[in-house]
């Protein structure tokens, strides 16, 4: 046996910056919340309408920002047109460059159809929102429910391609053993649903919509997504625990030799289990106590968003620091500039701007599966009349 010391090796920088985390995070929230909007908007389940309204703005706002983050991760962003001029069908990234604009269009199309009845109603509103509603509502005709369902279905199909390509893009990279596993794409989807359900919970709180039904539905989604994530993680582990090489072996080696990987693994595991347990606690309380407890569900939403983001940070950033050819670990401090903290903050800022613009000008609270402006009026009256809202008890601000 010999002992070896590495005297001289070059320093290898990371190639994908935190922009990539932001893209994977935003796009995952977008496709997952699209599926959360689907029961009401595509399949006509009225009970899911409050969830669908929240999920739709989550999906639209993140779909608008995600491509910006992706573009920023290119070192030559102005050459983005090369993706279309020199498409390479052998590359998952190239496939993604075709799917992504289609996805954005389908989500915007669905949102427009779902908001159109309310836009028609809003045409006489004063100021800019009335003007925009006039332009955007395109006439008085009713929006066929079937059209909303068809566009929604198309969006769901395209969103599945997004799930597939974002996962496969990473999973095919043999050079990074931690990515090179079939369990990574489903895990990205599961954590995407965790984050999306979390965001709907938070939006339900800050928008003042305060729908109890939405909270209950999102808690069930969280329960299912956490269970799925746990199953996937367990399968991944059992699948590779006896292998000498591969994803699990690389993970075990990282955990064994790096205190920071140990604490990351511990933090991820504990947060996931705690979230799962808290959701079970909330769902199993007596119906009398639930409204009081559900008022705090948005905190679980924040934890869920954190889970989704952290998983992507670990997968995309931390894995890039696992040395492939040199000894030890690469050290990485997040730079302050646009390839680091500024990029992360900037993306979230852009998302905030997007969602505030939607809040200002779009009647997203009256989104529905097609129909006419009269239906929109009726549905907003119905919402106001139900006891579904937390507001009656909480007095939270309502901008509706």
């Amino acid at each position: 046996m010999n002992s070896t010391i590495e005297l001289l090796a070059p320093r290898y920088d990371i190639a994908w910056y935190p922009w990539a985390v932001q893209y994977f995070f935003m796009i995952a929230i977008s496709y997952a919340s699209l599926w959360l909007a689907a029961p009401a908007l595509v399949f006509g389940k009225k009970a899911w309408l409050p969830t669908a309204r929240l999920a739709l703005i989550a999906s639209v706002s993140t779909a608008l920002v995600a491509p910006v983050a992706l573009l920023a991760d290119l070192h030559q962003p102005l050459r983005f047109w090369h993706f279309y001029a020199y498409a390479n069908t052998h590359s998952w990234m190239s496939i993604g460059s075709v799917v992504l604009p289609l996805y954005l269009l389908s989500v915007l199309g669905l949102a427009w159809l779902a908001w159109r009845p309310a836009l028609q109603e809003q045409r006489n509103a004063p100021g800019l929102s009335g003007l925009l509603a006039k332009w955007l509502s395109f006439g008085n005709g009713a929006t066929p429910k079937a059209l909303v369902a068809v566009v929604g279905l198309a969006a769901l199909v395209i969103s599945s391609s997004i799930m597939l390509y974002t996962g496969a893009e990473l999973a095919i990279v043999k050079a990074r053993p931690l990515w090179n596993t079939v369990w990574l794409p489903p895990m990205l989807v599961a954590t995407g649903f965790i984050a999306a359900a979390g965001l709907v919970l938070v939006l339900n709180r800050v928008s003042g919509l305060g729908s109890q039904a939405a909270i209950r539905q999102m808690l069930y989604v969280l329960l299912a997504a956490c269970a799925a994530a746990g199953l996937i993680a367990t399968s991944w582990f059992l699948d590779g625990v006896n292998a000498q090489v591969g994803s699990v072996a690389a993970a075990l080696e990282s955990v064994r030799h790096s205190p920071s990987w140990r604490s990351t693994a511990l933090w991820g595991g504990i947060t996931g289990i705690a979230l799962f347990a808290a959701v079970i606690v909330l769902l199993t309380r007596s119906p009398q106590r639930q409204p009081t407890l559900f008022a705090w569900a948005w905190l679980l939403g924040l934890v869920a968003i954190h889970m989704g983001w952290m998983f992507r940070w670990v997968v995309l950033m931390d894995v890039q620091h696992v040395a492939r050819n040199s000894a030890g670990f690469h050290h990485y401090g997040i730079p302050a500039g646009s390839s680091g903290i500024l990029g992360i903050v900037g993306t979230f800022g852009l998302w905030l701007a997007a969602i505030l613009l939607i809040e200002l000008f779009m009647p997203w609270r009256q989104a529905q599966q097609g129909g006419t402006s009269l239906d929109a009026q009726a549905s907003s009256d119905a919402i106001a009349a139900t006891n579904d809202s937390l507001n009656t008890k909480q007095g939270a601000p309502n901008h509706g």
Binding site: A9, P10, Q76, H82
Partner: protein, 258 residues
């Protein structure tokens, strides 16, 4: 690394070196993540490199000459020589092991099919190059290369890598690293020409040749003679120096551990 795995990897290393001599035309089937058709370059040639580690003294002349020839930014390298101090645990005897690293111009290069714009491609002579006018700088290839042979050039903001100095080969010159190697450790040539020095040496040392990370199925075309199979994968070594970073992540210096 246990003994069984080590010997398995060693055998794989030898096997892959052998497999590389068989032409792999069957790779051309189109499909996601499969190799696109090769273009440009001389189809009658297949360039490869043989590095005779017995001749390498770790002087880094190759590193420096490549750096100057190809105008790489400071701190970024198309080729470099990793150096290890190996101590025999029983006798305490010390030896230095040199491992020149560069692009392996693989027969199955994982960096090529991932490129979304086909900016990086393999020439018909086997050399993997980057069209820096087309490259969008997505850095997918940098992540896809198991050998860390690629980087994003700070100045051009596009992918950069060793090209076997294709521009020099075209002009009938040797690559800068080969030209400057004091021990004559680097031998480049056309492996399809049975009389070339590399072909002769490969015939002579066929059983002793090894490649890096053979288990990745990249079929590298840089062959090492006098290689220790423990170094064909990431060596189980301790780093002598750790970077010390300031709170902003900027490098302040190094901390030595030995």
């Amino acid at each position: 690394m246990d003994a069984i795995r080590r010997s398995l990897l060693g055998q794989l290393a030898r096997l892959s070196a052998g497999a590389a001599l068989v032409p792999l035309s069957s790779l051309a089937h189109a499909g996601i993540n499969q190799q696109p058709a090769r273009r440009e370059g001389d189809p009658t040639k297949r360039y490869g490199m043989l590095i005779d580690l017995r001749q390498c003294i770790g002087c880094q002349a190759c590193t420096v000459s490549c750096h100057i020839e190809n105008a790489a930014p400071l701190g970024q390298f198309r080729t470099t020589v990793s150096q290890y101090e190996v101590q025999h645990q029983e006798t305490g005897e010390l030896a230095t092991f040199m491992l020149p690293r560069l692009c392996n111009h693989c027969e199955n290069p994982p960096c090529v099919p991932v490129c979304p714009v086909e900016a990086t491609y393999q020439q018909q002579d086997g050399i993997v190059v980057v069209d820096s006018d087309r490259c969008v700088g997505c850095a997918y290839c940098v992540n896809a290369c198991p050998y860390d042979a690629r980087f994003i050039n700070e100045r051009t903001q596009t992918a950069d890598k060793c090209t076997f100095c294709a521009h020099r080969l075209e002009a009938g010159l040797l690559p800068a690293c080969v030209e400057s190697c004091v021990g004559g450790a680097r031998i480049i040539g056309d492996m399809r020409d049975p009389d070339s020095q590399i072909s002769r040496m490969m015939r002579e040392h066929r059983d002793a040749l090894m490649v890096l990370q053979p288990e990745k199925n990249t079929i590298p075309q840089v062959f090492y003679l006098g290689m220790d199979e423990r170094f064909t994968t990431r060596p189980t070594a301790e780093p002598v120096a750790l970077e010390v970073l300031d709170p902003h992540g900027q490098e302040m210096g190094y901390e030595f551990h030995h």
